[in-house]
């Protein structure tokens, strides 16, 4: 009798234990799924945000470049027109299809900027002078793809477009301790109280999302010119 009772207690206890275990596992499983879903949503939102922050081609740049090509065609300078179309295609291919939030070696980024500046030099002629100076040990350093583009565009606009005599642009890459530092300068009349464009705030947010507090993004401007410095932890291999 006592044994029977004991057995019933034991069975009852075992049933309870199993039930608890079962429900715990089910709950935990659901919790894990939910957590995974929310993490994935967060990652997607993060990705989407980064995508939105990445450089986007400016319509007026595209239309002005097409207009320049149109001039070359009217003037029957077909070789120049053809070269310009090739450069514009390079530019479009990279801006429209470069992997989002991806890091790219500085060398590739400068190569891309070079194509862009080649287009601008045809548009502005002798008005635009360019100097690119990146230390050898920085060429393999990783940079967020297209990060320089809006900064260089600004320099062209303020440094060269502002004056009839044109101007110079310099891009400099240096390793400073454990940081990669890039400087974009123009010798234009300074930006004064100009309001920062979308490109500026997007660049800041993108750097914050990628590097947190470990980045620098500064601008100094005077009537003799403007310099923008960006810096982040030096790295040469993809994470």
């Amino acid at each position: 009798m006592g044994q029977l009772f004991n057995g019933a207690v034991y069975n009852g206890f075992a049933l309870l234990a199993w039930s608890v275990l079962y429900f715990w596992i089910r709950y935990h499983d659901a919790w894990l799924t939910e957590r995974e879903r929310s993490l994935r949503a967060e990652a997607l939102a993060h990705q989407a945000r980064l995508e939105a922050l990445r450089y986007q081609i400016q319509p007026h740049f595209l239309f002005n470049t097409l207009n320049a090509i149109s001039t070359l065609v009217v003037e029957r300078r077909s070789e120049d027109a053809s070269r310009m179309i090739a450069r514009l295609s390079d530019f479009l291919r990279l801006t429209l299809s470069a992997p989002v939030s991806d890091l790219t070696p500085l060398k590739d980024e400068l190569d891309f900027i070079g194509r862009y500046l080649e287009i601008e030099q045809v548009r502005f002629g002798s008005k635009l002078r360019v100097r690119v100076d990146a230390a050898l040990d920085t060429l393999g350093a990783l940079v967020p793809s297209l990060i320089l583009q809006p900064l260089v565009e600004n320099a062209v606009r303020h440094g060269v477009g502002a004056r009839e005599s044109g101007g110079s642009i310099a891009i400099e890459g240096r390793r400073k301790g454990d940081m990669l530092s890039l400087a974009i300068s123009d010798d234009g009349p300074g930006i004064g109280d100009a309001i920062d464009g979308v490109g500026w705030s997007n660049t800041r947010e993108r750097l914050t999302r990628l590097y947190g507090e470990a980045h620098r993004f500064e601008r100094t401007s005077s009537p003799l010119g403007t310099t923008v410095v960006v810096a982040w932890p030096f790295a040469t291999t993809r994470r």
Binding site: N67, S70, R157, G161
Partner: protein
């Protein structure tokens, strides 16, 4: 005297200026008297050169296209064709009575239409008319016109010893003339009132208008009363 339109081109991109200059050279009848890379230089040039026509970029740093129009003032501003990569300024351009608004890259057909419109407007202002004779485009001072005759879809314009054949209907051509200075005397004849020296009957019901160069033109019965009233040559 035939004079081309005097135009200036304002754009901060040399290649964009050349695109307009090249198209104007192809079209003919327009002399580019200056090219400027900034709004500031454009203001000075409009004041000193008083061009007939201005091709004006909108988006320039510091002094943009609209600031140029504002600085010169609507009364002093020559006809403007805005040329821009942006389409959002069309309303503002309309507001300052721009002659036309061209988008970059330039569409040749639209450019041709804008130029035709410019020629008409410039001609109106200067007391000149546009002559497109055998592919050449020139201007004729309206004061030089003697008389105009209809030739089907064409009109023949007589000015001194010269005559020009222009592809335009009589009715359309008449609209470009100042009605105070020209008069219909026949279904197919318009005369410059300043050149009329007399009126004479060649038979009881037929009349002729005499012009200063010796030309004699038939006056239709239908137009006679009105013509006599305007010239004071009636009996």
């Amino acid at each position: 005297m035939m004079a081309p339109i005097r135009a200036i081109i304002v754009d901060d991109e040399p290649l964009a200026r050349r695109g307009i200059a090249a198209r104007l050279a192809l079209a003919g009848g327009v002399e580019v008297v200056g090219e400027y890379g900034s709004g500031r230089a454009a203001i000075a040039a409009i004041r000193s050169l008083t061009p007939d026509l201005v091709f004006l970029d909108v988006q320039m740093l510091e002094v943009d296209g609209f600031a140029v129009v504002g600085a010169i003032g609507p009364d002093q501003m020559p006809p403007v064709v805005f040329v821009t990569a942006y389409d959002q300024y069309a309303l503002a351009a309309f507001d300052v009575q721009a002659l036309d608004y061209l988008l970059k890259p330039i569409d040749d057909d639209r450019f041709t239409r804008a130029l035709a419109r410019a020629r008409r407007q410039v001609a109106d202002r200067g007391g000149r008319i546009l002559i497109r004779d055998r592919g050449r485009v020139t201007f004729l001072e309206t004061a030089e016109l003697d008389w105009i005759e209809a030739k089907g879809d064409y009109v023949r314009i007589h000015a001194g010893a010269r005559a020009y054949l222009v592809r335009e209907t009589m009715a359309a051509f008449e609209r470009t003339l100042d009605p105070n200075r020209f008069a219909r005397i026949h279904r197919s004849t318009i005369v410059a009132l300043a050149k009329v020296v007399g009126l004479r009957a060649t038979s009881p019901r037929r009349w002729e208008v005499l012009l200063s160069g010796g030309t004699r033109l038939k006056l239709s019965r239908h137009h006679r009363a009105e013509f006599e009233r305007r010239t004071g040559l009636g009996s």
